[in-house]
C-alpha cells in the first residue's frame, strides 16, 4: 500500500518533470514602465503565449481562445477594450497594438468564404459572452470589410490576403470595467505570481487611460509571411497611464505606488519575465534595486531591465527623482489625428478630421473611418484642405486612393478608406458632410437623448524616426525581443476621438400628448374631408313656409314626429283589419 503510493507519487513527479521539459507552449511576460513626455507614467503589460498547435491538448495557451480559433476557423483575432483616449499630442505615439476608445474587434477567417458572416456573428456573440461586453450591436450594422488597413498582422495560410475574409467593427459606447478585466486575467497561465500579480483593478480604474487587448496571430519562423505549420501566438496587452501628481508634485514612483502591490512570487511557467523602465535622463532618477538591474540600449534609448526570475523577492522596482513636477507644454509627435463634429442642429452636420504633419518630409498615410448607416454621408463632399508653412503644400491635400463602401440601412456601415499624402509641416482638414436620418422608434437606445456614438477614424502610417515611438514592440515582437535585436514592426496605428452625434429624437416622455394631438388632428380633418368627398351636392329649394324661430322649429319637428307615429298607428290598424278579413274569409 505504502509502496504503491510512493511509486504513484514518483511517477507523477517524473511526469511533471517530463512534461515541463517537453513543453511546447512558451509563455513570456514583461512590464514596460515609461515616463511620457507630459510626465505621466505609462505602464505597458505584455503577456505572450505561443503554441505550436491548437487542437485537443492545451498546455499554457488559453483553451477558450484556442476553441474560438478552431470553432470559427480563424486566421487572426484582435479584441481591445479601452477606457479613455490615448492623447497623442501629450503622450506621444500610442504603444502598438493601439486601440480606440471603447471596444474594437477585428478578425480574419480561413476556409469557406460564404460562411464568414455567420461565423463572424457567432464569434462576436462568443466574445461578448466571454469578456462580459455588449458587442452584439456591431452585427451586422457596424461591421465593415476594410481593405487598406487592419490587414493581418501575422502570417496568412494562403500567403495572399483575401479581403472578403476580414471583418472589422468598433463600438465606442462600450464602457470598460472590472468585469472585463477578470475574464481577461483568467487567460493568463500565472494569475497570482510573477508580473500578473500586479494587476489590481482599483489602480487601473483610477488611471487616466487604460486599455486591455487580446491579439491572436500566426507566426512563421524567421518572420516569413506564410509557412506550412505556423505557431499560434496570443498576446495580451494592458496599458495604463496614471495622472500627474499635481497635488504633491513628487515624481517618485515604485510598483507599490503605481499598482498597489509588489511581486512576492515569480511565475515558474514563464520563460522570460522582465520589468523594463526607460531611463529619462532629464530628471535624474535613481533606480532602486540597481544591483539586480542590467542596462539595455536601443536607438539611443536607455532601459533598466529587471529579471523577475533572478532577482531577490519581494520586488518593488522604483525610481527616485530629485526634481519636482513641472508641467510642460506639449511636444506633439510628428503626426497626429483629431476628429470632431461640425455643424449644429438636427438636420445635418460634418465629420471633420484634423491631420497634422509636423515632420520635414511628406508622409503617406491610410485614413480609415467606419461611419454608421444612420449618418447619411455624401461621397462628393469629401474634401481635404491643407495649410502649412511649406508653400508647395498649401492647397488641397492629395488623396491618392479613395475606397468607399456605401452603407445598407440597418445592414452595414459606410466604410471610407483614403490613401492620403500629408504635405510636410501642414495641417489638413479632411471633411465629409452627412444628413441625419430618422430611426424607427424601437431603434433608439435607453437614454436616447444622449446621442449616438460614431467610432473614431484611424490613421496608419510608417514613421521614419523610431525614437518617437513610446513603447518598443508591436504585434509580433515584445519590447525585450526588440532590445535584443529583433526587427520592429513597421506600422503605427493611431485613432482620433470618438464622436457623439445627436439624432432627431422623439419625445419619449410625452406619448400621451402626441397621441392626443394626432388623434385630434385626424378627427378634425377626417370628418369634413370624408363628408365632402362622399356626399353629393344637391340643389335644394328653400321652403318659404318653414318656421324661422327656434320655438317654431321645435314645434314643427314635434309635429313631424307626431305625424309619423300617427301614420304608423294607421298602418297597423289597416293591417289588423286585413288580417281579420282573411280570418273571417277562412272561417267562411
Amino acid at each position: 500500500m505504502w509502496l504503491t503510493r510512493f511509486l504513484l507519487c514518483a511517477l507523477l513527479c517524473f511526469h511533471r518533470l517530463f512534461v515541463a521539459d517537453a513543453r511546447s507552449d512558451v509563455y513570456s511576460e514583461e512590464l514596460v514602465i515609461k515616463r511620457l513626455p507630459s510626465q505621466n507614467m505609462a505602464a505597458h503589460f505584455r503577456f505572450t503565449t505561443t503554441s505550436a498547435e491548437l487542437g485537443v491538448h492545451y498546455d499554457l495557451f488559453p483553451r477558450v481562445i484556442g476553441e474560438f480559433v478552431t470553432t470559427y476557423n480563424l486566421s487572426e483575432l484582435h479584441l481591445s477594450l479601452t477606457q479613455g483616449i490615448w492623447r497623442t499630442d501629450y503622450w506621444g505615439f500610442a504603444p502598438q497594438p493601439s486601440s480606440p476608445s471603447g471596444a474594437q474587434v477585428y478578425a480574419w477567417f480561413d476556409g469557406d468564404s460564404s460562411s464568414v458572416d455567420e461565423r463572424w456573428a457567432n464569434l462576436v456573440h462568443s466574445l461578448s459572452g466571454f469578456f462580459c461586453t455588449s458587442l452584439l450591436q456591431i452585427v451586422p450594422g457596424l461591421t465593415a470589410r476594410p481593405q487598406l488597413s487592419f490587414r493581418p498582422a501575422g502570417a496568412v495560410s494562403t500567403g495572399i490576403v483575401d479581403f472578403s475574409m476580414g471583418r472589422y467593427a468598433a463600438l465606442s459606447s462600450e464602457p470598460v470595467c472590472t468585469e472585463n478585466l477578470t475574464p481577461w486575467k483568467k487567460l493568463l497561465p500565472c494569475k497570482e505570481a510573477g508580473i500578473s500579480s500586479l494587476l489590481h483593478p482599483i489602480k487601473f480604474y483610477e488611471a487616466q487611460y487604460h486599455s486591455l487587448s487580446v491579439d491572436v496571430i500566426q507566426l512563421c519562423p524567421n518572420g516569413a509571411s506564410t509557412c506550412a505549420r505556423p505557431n499560434w501566438q496570443v498576446s495580451q496587452n494592458l496599458l495604463v497611464v496614471t495622472d500627474l501628481p499635481l497635488g504633491s508634485k513628487v515624481l517618485n514612483w515604485n510598483l507599490r505606488s503605481l499598482f498597489d502591490g509588489e511581486i512576492y512570487k515569480k511565475c515558474d511557467l514563464a520563460k522570460s519575465s522582465h520589468i523594463l523602465a526607460e531611463v529619462d535622463d532629464q530628471l535624474n532618477p535613481e533606480y532602486s534595486h540597481t544591483p539586480d538591474a542590467t542596462l539595455k540600449f536601443r536607438d539611443g534609448r536607455k532601459f533598466v531591465s529587471f529579471d523577475v526570475s533572478k532577482t531577490k523577492l519581494p520586488l518593488n522596482v522604483g525610481a527616485k527623482y530629485k526634481d519636482r513636477l513641472k508641467v510642460k507644454s506639449p511636444n506633439p509627435p510628428s503626426i497626429s489625428i483629431h476628429s470632431y463634429i461640425g455643424g449644429s442642429g438636427q438636420q445635418d452636420g460634418q465629420i471633420v478630421t484634423r491631420l497634422v504633419n509636423r515632420d520635414e518630409a511628406n508622409h503617406r498615410a491610410v485614413y480609415t473611418h467606419v461611419i454608421p448607416w444612420f449618418l447619411r454621408v455624401y461621397y462628393h463632399t469629401i474634401e481635404m484642405d491643407c495649410e502649412g508653412g511649406n508653400s508647395n503644400a498649401i492647397g488641397e491635400g492629395v488623396i491618392q486612393t479613395k475606397k468607399f463602401t456605401p452603407a445598407k440601412d440597418r445592414g452595414a456601415p459606410y466604410l471610407l478608406e483614403l490613401d492620403v499624402n500629408l504635405p510636410a509641416q501642414s495641417t489638413c482638414h479632411l471633411s465629409i458632410d452627412f444628413d441625419k436620418s430618422f430611426l424607427r422608434w424601437t431603434e433608439y437606445p435607453p437614454d436616447a437623448n444622449k446621442g449616438f456614438f460614431v467610432p473614431p477614424p484611424s490613421l496608419v502610417f510608417r514613421p521614419t524616426d523610431w525614437s518617437n515611438v513610446t513603447v518598443l514592440g508591436g504585434q509580433r515582437t515584445t519590447t525585450m525581443e526588440e532590445l535584443n535585436g529583433a526587427v520592429t514592426s513597421p506600422l503605427v496605428v493611431m485613432y482620433g476621438e470618438a464622436l457623439l452625434v445627436s439624432l432627431p429624437t422623439p419625445d419619449f416622455s410625452m406619448p400621451y400628448n402626441v397621441i392626443c394631438l394626432v388623434c385630434t388632428v385626424i378627427a378634425l380633418c377626417f370628418g369634413p374631408i370624408h363628408s365632402l368627398t362622399t356626399k353629393c351636392l344637391l340643389l335644394k329649394f328653400e321652403d318659404k313656409d318653414a318656421p324661422q324661430t327656434l320655438l317654431g322649429k321645435l314645434k314643427a319637428k314635434l309635429m313631424k314626429i307626431v305625424d309619423k307615429v300617427r301614420r304608423k298607428g294607421k298602418a297597423v290598424e289597416s293591417a289588423d283589419v286585413k288580417k281579420k278579413d282573411e280570418v273571417s274569409k277562412k272561417t267562411d
Binding site: D89, G343, V352, D507
Partner: protein, 629 residues
C-alpha cells in the same frame, strides 16, 4: 372650410351674427387678451418651478471649493501683469494666461479672430484663450464650457475661473471635459470661438480653426462679475439668448438653486423676487408683473450684449450667464469663494447628466426665479389678441362679396370680373411693399461689404437706412398717381386690407411660437390700429389714423419707446430737447446694433423688422392714404 359655407352656397347663420357684432367682439377679444396676460402673472395662474431632469441631482454634493487664497493670488497676479504691461489702457496678457493654464495641468490654446463690423472702420482683431480640462477615463465626447469675458473690470472673475480650473483638475469625478474660455471683445470673441468649434464659418468674422475640441457641448456657464462689487449679496441670472431663444428651464432652476445654497439671493433683471408673504399681495403682483414685462421685452429685443451666454443658442447649447453683484448691504459675506462653489455645484450637476438637456421647458417666461409661465399658458393670449385681426379680415372679405352682389344688377360674370380685377390691381402694391422691405434688408449689405472695408460709421449707416425707410412710403402713392389707367377703386383697397390683415396675423402667429416676446408686443401695439385702418373719407379720421401709423413706423416706434424708457428711468426730469436727442442717439445705436447682430450673430431681428413688419406697415399706409376720386 365646411363651416364657412353651406350646401346652398350661403354663409351659415352664425357668420352673419358674427359680422353684425364684429366690432364689439373685436374689442372684447382684445381686452380679454390684455386681461388674460395680466392674469397669468398672478401666482394662482402659474406654477412653481421644478426639476424635470432627475440626473441633475442639484445641490446634493458637498461643495469642496475653498481656495480663497488661490483665487486672490490669481486675481492679484493678473492685475499686476495687466498694470505693468499696459498701464491704464488694459490689454489681455495672452501668454500669461496660457502659462497659468498650462501650469495647473490644462491643455491651453489661443485662437485668433478678425471681425469686420459695419460702423467700425478697420477690422476688430482679438485672441481668445481657451483651455481644455480633460476628464480622466472619458473619451472626450462631451464637454461643459465655462466662459469669462476679458474686460478691465472682470479680472476678479478670471482669477476665480483660473482657481476653479485648478480645483477641477484635481478632482477625479468628471465625466465630461471642461473647457474654460476667456474671450476678447466680449461676445464677438465667443461667437468666433463657437463658429470655429462647430466649423460654421461666418463671412464677417474670420476665426482660426481650434487646436482642440471636447465633443458635444452639453451646457455653458458664463461668469461676469464686476471687480469691486464684493461682498456679493445677489446673483443675477441672465438667460435671454439671441433670437429669443431660451435655455432649458432646468439649467436656470439649477443655478437659482445653487445660488440659494450659497446664501445669496438670485435675481432676474436685477429684480428680487417678492418675499413669501408678499407673493399674493398687490405689492408682490407688481414685482412679478415688472419682471415678466422685462423678460418679454428682453426676449423680444435680445441682443448679444446681455452676456456671453447669448450667442450659444444658435449652436443648440444651453447657456446662462451668472453675474454676481453687491447691493452695499453686508448682510451675507458673499465672496469669490461662494461664487466658485456656486459654479462648482452647477458644473457637477451638469456633469451628472446622462443625456443632453431635453426634459424641461424651452418656451417660457419667468415672473420670478421660482415661478414660470409655460407655452401652454401664454399662447392663448396671442390667440385672443390676434383674434380681432382675423375676424376683421373675414368680415371685410364677406362684405366685399355682398357689396359686389348688391351693386351689380347684371349677371354674375361681370361681378366676378370686377372682383378679380380689383384683386389683381393691388398685386403691384403688395409686391412694391415687400420689395421696399427687401431693399431695406439688403441695404446694409450693399453699403457695407464685409471683405472690402468701406469705412462707414454708425451715423452714416443709420442715415442711409432712415432716409430710405422714411422716403419709401411715398412710393405707393406715386405709383397710384402715375398708373392712372389702373382703377384703384375702394374694393381694391379693401382687398389690400384683407391681405395685410391676414399677413399680419400669419406672421405674428408664427413668430409667437419662436419668440413670444416680440409677437406679443407686436400684437398689443399693432393689432388694434391695423384693425381700424380703413380708407377714411373724413379728414379727422384720416389724420388720426395717419398719426397712429406714423407712430407705428418701426423707426419711429423704436425712437418713441426709447424716449419713454429714458424719461422713466432718468432720476431728474429731463428737458424735452435733451430727451429727443438722447432718444435719437439710442435709436441710431439700436438700429446699427441690430444690423451688426444680424451680420455677426445671425440675429433675425433686423430681418423681422424689414422683411415682415415694414411691408405690412406700408400696406396699411397705402390704405390710409388712398384717395378715392
Amino acid at each position: 372650410m365646411r363651416s364657412l359655407t353651406r350646401s346652398d352656397g350661403r354663409p351659415p347663420k352664425w357668420l352673419n351674427g358674427l359680422r353684425r357684432k364684429a366690432n364689439a367682439l373685436c374689442a372684447l377679444l382684445y381686452v380679454a387678451g390684455l386681461i388674460y396676460l395680466a392674469c397669468i402673472v398672478w401666482p394662482s395662474f402659474n406654477d412653481r418651478t421644478y426639476f424635470s431632469e432627475n440626473a441633475l441631482l442639484p445641490g446634493l454634493v458637498d461643495d469642496e471649493f475653498v481656495h480663497r487664497e488661490r483665487t486672490n493670488t490669481f486675481a492679484k497676479q493678473l492685475r499686476e501683469v495687466v498694470q505693468t504691461r499696459y498701464g491704464k489702457e488694459y490689454g489681455m496678457p495672452h501668454d500669461w494666461l496660457l502659462e497659468q493654464l498650462e501650469s495647473i495641468g490644462l491643455e491651453a490654446y489661443a485662437q485668433n479672430f478678425t471681425a469686420f463690423l459695419p460702423g467700425i472702420s478697420g477690422a476688430v482683431e482679438g485672441t481668445n484663450i481657451f483651455a481644455v480640462m480633460r476628464a480622466a477615463r472619458a473619451p472626450s465626447v462631451e464637454s461643459i464650457v465655462v466662459a469669462v469675458p476679458f474686460r478691465s473690470n472682470t479680472l476678479g472673475s478670471i482669477g476665480l475661473a483660473l482657481s476653479l480650473a485648478s480645483f477641477c483638475r484635481e478632482q477625479i469625478y468628471w465625466s465630461k471635459d471642461l473647457i474654460f474660455v476667456f474671450t476678447e471683445h466680449e461676445t464677438i470673441g465667443m461667437q468666433a470661438w463657437l463658429s470655429a468649434y462647430h466649423r460654421l464659418p461666418i463671412s464677417s468674422l474670420k476665426a482660426d480653426p481650434l487646436a482642440a475640441h471636447g465633443g458635444a457641448i452639453q451646457a455653458a456657464l458664463a461668469l461676469e462679475a464686476t471687480d469691486g462689487s464684493t461682498p456679493f449679496s445677489n446673483v443675477d441670472i441672465r438667460y435671454n439668448m439671441i433670437n429669443g431663444q431660451l435655455p432649458n428651464l432646468d439649467l436656470v432652476n439649477l443655478l437659482v438653486k445653487m445660488t440659494e445654497k450659497e446664501a445669496l439671493v438670485p435675481t432676474l433683471y436685477m429684480q428680487e423676487d417678492p418675499h413669501g408673504q408678499d407673493l399674493y399681495t398687490e405689492k408682490g403682483y407688481w414685482k412679478l408683473a415688472k419682471t415678466s414685462f422685462k423678460g418679454i421685452v428682453a426676449q423680444a429685443f435680445s441682443r448679444a450684449d446681455s452676456g456671453l451666454h447669448s450667442v450659444f443658442g444658435a449652436y443648440g447649447v444651453q447657456a446662462v450667464t451668472i453675474s454676481p453683484y453687491g447691493k452695499g448691504r453686508t448682510k451675507s459675506q458673499g465672496g469669490w469663494v461662494d461664487i466658485g462653489r456656486l459654479l462648482e455645484g452647477g458644473l457637477r450637476s451638469v456633469n451628472n447628466l446622462l443625456e443632453k438637456f431635453h426634459q424641461s421647458f424651452f418656451f417660457y417666461f419667468l415672473p420670478s426665479t421660482h415661478r414660470y409661465v409655460s407655452i401652454g399658458v401664454f399662447m392663448p393670449a396671442i390667440g385672443l389678441l390676434m383674434g380681432p385681426v382675423l375676424i376683421k379680415a373675414l368680415c371685410v372679405w364677406l362684405d366685399l362679396n355682398d357689396e359686389g352682389e348688391s351693386s351689380a344688377d347684371g349677371d354674375a360674370k361681370a361681378k366676378k370680373e370686377t372682383k378679380s380685377e380689383s384683386a389683381l390691381a393691388v398685386l403691384p402694391l403688395i409686391v412694391i411693399a415687400h420689395s421696399c422691405g427687401a431693399l431695406l434688408y439688403f441695404l446694409p449689405y450693399l453699403l457695407f461689404n464685409a471683405q472690402a472695408s468701406i469705412s462707414t460709421n454708425d451715423q452714416q449707416l443709420f442715415q442711409a437706412i432712415a432716409t430710405i425707410a422714411i422716403t419709401l412710403p411715398i412710393c405707393p402713392w406715386i405709383i397710384q398717381r402715375n398708373l392712372a389707367d389702373k382703377d384703384f377703386g375702394v374694393p381694391s383697397m379693401v382687398v389690400l386690407r384683407v391681405v395685410a390683415l391676414l399677413e399680419l396675423a400669419l406672421i405674428v402667429g408664427v413668430t409667437a411660437v419662436l419668440n413670444f416676446g416680440i409677437a406679443v408686443l407686436v400684437a398689443i401695439f399693432v393689432a388694434p390700429i391695423s384693425t381700424i385702418t380703413i380708407p377714411f373719407r373724413s379728414k379727422i379720421g384720416w389724420a388720426l389714423n395717419s398719426m397712429a401709423l406714423v407712430l407705428l413706423h418701426p423707426l419711429v416706434a423704436c425712437c418713441v419707446a426709447l424716449g419713454v424708457y429714458t424719461a422713466l428711468t432718468v432720476p431728474v426730469p429731463p428737458t424735452p430737447s435733451w430727451l429727443a436727442q438722447r432718444a435719437f442717439e439710442q435709436t441710431v445705436d439700436v438700429t446699427v446694433g441690430f444690423i451688426r447682430d444680424s451680420l455677426v450673430y445671425q440675429s433675425h431681428l433686423y430681418a423681422f423688422f424689414t422683411l415682415a413688419l415694414f411691408p405690412i406697415w406700408m400696406m396699411f399706409w397705402t390704405i390710409v392714404h388712398h384717395r378715392s376720386e
